[in-house]
Symmetry: C2
Subunit: 274 residues, 2 copies
DNA sequence: GAAGTTACTTTATGGCGTAAGGAGTCGCAA
DNA sequence: TTGCGACTCCTTACGCCATAAAGTAACTTC
């Protein structure tokens, strides 16, 4: 699942970087009927399907249907589903902002970047399932990376370390996004709210593992010592669900710790006294 | 793909926690023919398939075949493929060590934990594709979490923060593991070594994006300022491939930064002077 | 023995990605 | 003007997949 169409690497890269004729749907092409579709249209439709119905619902048939075509019509424009996934992945990364205030303190810049990254992945949770399958190397992904590196350069740390911090920050953001996406999907699939779901599971856990407290003492101690606002039912509008709020707080706290760690590195580098 | 079998939650939990008769393959059961399989045997076989051939190759047929049965025979023991995935996920987590030196400094403990976690995910890369689909809540996953919390408690930080640090550390480890797994898979699928693959891609990039250096100045500057041992062909044995070494260095550096950040928090908490 | 329960098989349904081949459309060279 | 060849898009078909339904045989309990 979600594997690369490791086909012709050259064709794949040309598609990703759109190194061909500047396509438009209604243009006069060579011989043959005027193309009714375009790579961009297909990619846009596929992204819509994945956004709305999730990765599991993304099939060539579904994408074709959304465009009023059969599944096979897509293969005129795109060599395989794997390539289409690569194109989707890169296209959607165009949403990522590239402009940040990199004149002031780097902390603010990186915080904004991380928050934007989190929201991006929550808008397109399927991206998390593509990316871990293999590197894609498209222009917009590179743009995002370039932005992050630029922000990190404001720390004044050496290139070596910047490179690794970029990886670390990305891992962190994607991990947090994954947890939130998980929570949302669980809520969507079961139809229960987070609280209901969690309550039901806790009850089952008690049934099935009556010795829970003895088996996981540290866990239970932490649970009783930290669970903050269990119900906290916000009366107005739809409150942010429990698990999602949890995950967001992990995001905030974890990001703070990470930036503290970077700050320590900056201080160490500032006084080069190994 | 890789979704939960969100079936009967009670049955699912009973299976996970093995809250039933203590099964053994050849025992005298009730009426009917003696069972030739067992949940454990199926889970073990499924893990073997996923380890050897990857998640994409994990089908009910493949697992059945490995046990000398048809795909349908498995459904006597396991309600669906989704449940089987949950069982695999939890079973494999039994490999995670639970004993660490938590008397000494927490830094060493967490470093060991992270390293074990990385190796674990590299032994079973498919775990990364299961976990982000939804929470599983099995006994061995809980054991792993309990261990991590215990190690974090050695910092003396409050429960609140410990909970979030646990999430942060897990995200980090899984992210790093994902990158390494990616690199390995790319190498396995294409048959090229990392160096070859990367070299070929770079050439294609130059072809397809001749303005690369202008578009991504920060990235290029970092690249030229940091690429450490490009070839470094270790003559003996099989060297660790390039991309994998990169990822491992990100792991080491990122972990260091994270622990530095935790240390900062510990220091702040030690002198409670908000 | 008969009845009931269970392990496992075969068969079938409706999905998937995509290979193969065919029908209709159009630019262009003859 | 005609017809070739390139091109888009369709239908059909193949071999996978998960799994529902129904059948067969083994075994325990009455």
């Amino acid at each position: 699942m979600v594997f690369a169409g490791q086909g012709d690497a050259r064709r794949s890269m040309s598609l990703l970087w759109r190194a061909g004729r500047p396509e438009q749907p209604g243009r006069r092409p060579g011989p043959g009927p005027r193309p009714g579709l375009s790579v961009d249209a297909i990619v846009t439709a596929a992204i819509a399907v994945a956004d709305e119905d999730g990765m599991a619902a993304l099939s060539m048939r579904a994408v074709g249907e959304r465009l009023g075509r059969t599944a096979m019509a897509l293969y005129t424009y795109v060599p395989s589903k794997g390539e289409l996934l690569d194109l989707m992945y890169d296209a959607v990364h165009a949403e990522l902002p590239t402009e940040y205030d990199d004149t002031g303190d780097w902390r603010a810049g990186l915080t904004d970047w991380a928050r934007d990254g989190l929201e991006f992945h929550l808008r397109h949770p399927w991206v998390l399932q593509v990316s871990q399958a293999r590197p894609v190397l498209g222009p917009h992904e590179y743009a995002g990376l370039d932005t992050l590196v630029r922000l990190l350069n404001a720390t004044g740390l050496e290139a070596h370390l910047v490179r690794r911090l970029a990886g670390t920050l990305s891992h962190f953001v994607r991990g947090c996004a994954g947890t939130v996406a998980e929570a949302r999907q669980a809520a969507a699939v079961t139809g229960e709210s987070d609280e209901e779901w969690w309550f039901a599971r806790s009850a089952l856990l008690g049934e099935v593992a009556p010795d829970f407290a003895e088996r996981y003492p540290s866990l239970v101690a932490m649970e009783t010592g930290s669970t903050p606002q269990p119900p906290a039912p916000e009366p107005d509008g739809e409150a942010v669900p429990y698990l999602e709020r949890e995950a967001r707080e992990t995001f905030t706290a974890g990001l703070g710790v990470l930036l503290d760690g970077i700050e320590a590195a900056v201080r160490r580098a500032g006084t080069p006294r190994t």
